[in-house]
Amino acid sequence: MRIFLHQLRFEQLLFWRSREAAFFIFGFPLLLFVLLGSVYNGKIDGYPASSVLLVGMIGYGAANTAFAGTAIILVNRREYGILKRIRSTPLPAWVYLACTLVSSLLVFTLETVLLFAVGRIFFSAQLPGHVASLAVAVLIGTTVFAAIGLAVTALIRSAEGSSAVVNFILLPMAFLSGSFGPTRRYPTFLRAIGDVLPLKYFIEVVKGIYLGGHALWSRPGALGVMAAWTAGGIVVARLRFGWEPRER
């Protein structure tokens, strides 16, 4: 436990110290929310547009922090030999990986709180009623996307390519899952792709809790899809994840 908190403290220090990454991972969804929120007006599906967008941005934030953040950070550390270095120390591998997960969770939780604050201040959005359900949803979202991030880390070969690959996955996924607005009017085949993506279901769950006032468990299908993606991510990571630089 002591070693866990020690590592977590430094993970946080490292995250906030690298300003560009922290801005891209943490600041970007907030910025996007303010911009898009000023453009969208009226109602979507009977809810205020800004609230629907807020939910989409929470989804985007989850994928950005836990998926993109984890993958970019771990690929960089692997290629610079930092992961290899850590492997020679007594720090257990699972503590290290758990700390990157919990560190993302902290960042994303703060992100979610700020998104609600921005929504409240700029767009007079409601504050969420079911805080406990929402907190559990945030934990689930972080886990799903961190698992996928770990799998993608294992598949990326170089530090230079990492942010390109990650954004190539992140942005279309966010678009197809409805982060930037409802997907109802998208062509059928685009919606079909969206239907298998975990982000769509995460957004659905958060929307149900925040706007519909539903319990977290009222969407077992959505939770099932997310569980399947988590399991798939862990399997790929177990098979392919390595601690040593790929490029020699």
Partner: protein
Amino acid sequence: MSAIRVEDLRKRYGDDEALRGISFEIEEGEVFGLLGPNGAGKTTTVEILEGYRKRDGGNVEVLGFDPQRAQREFRERIGVVLQSAEPWPNLTPHETLSLFAGYYPRPRDVGEVLDLVGLADKRNVRVKTLSGGQKRRLDLGVALVGDPQLVFLDEPTTGFDPAARRAAWGMIRSLRSLGKTVLLTTHYLDEAQQLADRVAVLREGQIVIMGAPSALTGGSLDAEIRFRRNGEQVVLRTDEPTRVLHELTAEALAAGEELEGLEVRRPTLEDVYLSLVQEEEP
């Protein structure tokens, strides 16, 4: 007791035989140098002993552990400097060492380690502003902060300028006075000679000679006698320099000649090393 025992160690990469059965032992408190040109198999050997790579044959024991299976307890007792590694650019040296110190049960004092590697005056600047040599020294500090019994240094001074190399040598010597066992690889002969109690010369995955640096020259090459006769350079190689020299000088005295530029040379370690690593394939 020996800290490291290696018996008939073998490793191949595909069809490429990187280690062809090497054996050596390192005593506790000894500084052992693995010397050889690029591609000889130094990193392969060291990384097998550190537990990074799996061997294909032979026996290996490091501090009583099999590194291939050893876990936390083993890692608490070793310190590693990799051939190439970049520390975190956005931490300071003090933070970097504190981070790693937290992984060990009985770490050394961070301030003390900063002094030891000569980074006390840089303790609070970002690592990205350090020079290559300073980063390398920080890396050495990281290897020492857990107070390991055994330290692996893979080419610790490659790419250093002469002054930085001397400074690093000083640090490595201080490891000896701390009682650490050190396994050092290098492709610089003088470095092995300066630092190691014993040296093994590795060539194409085989140890071609092993012993104290001073002993390596003994008897392995003939002495050279050089002089000029009628303006021409004469070089005689012999394993009996005393007798040959006696005969030469006796002849010259009898003829009333001077042996111009007379010189008797023992081969230096460098001559031995070059003759070993440059030998043609059998």
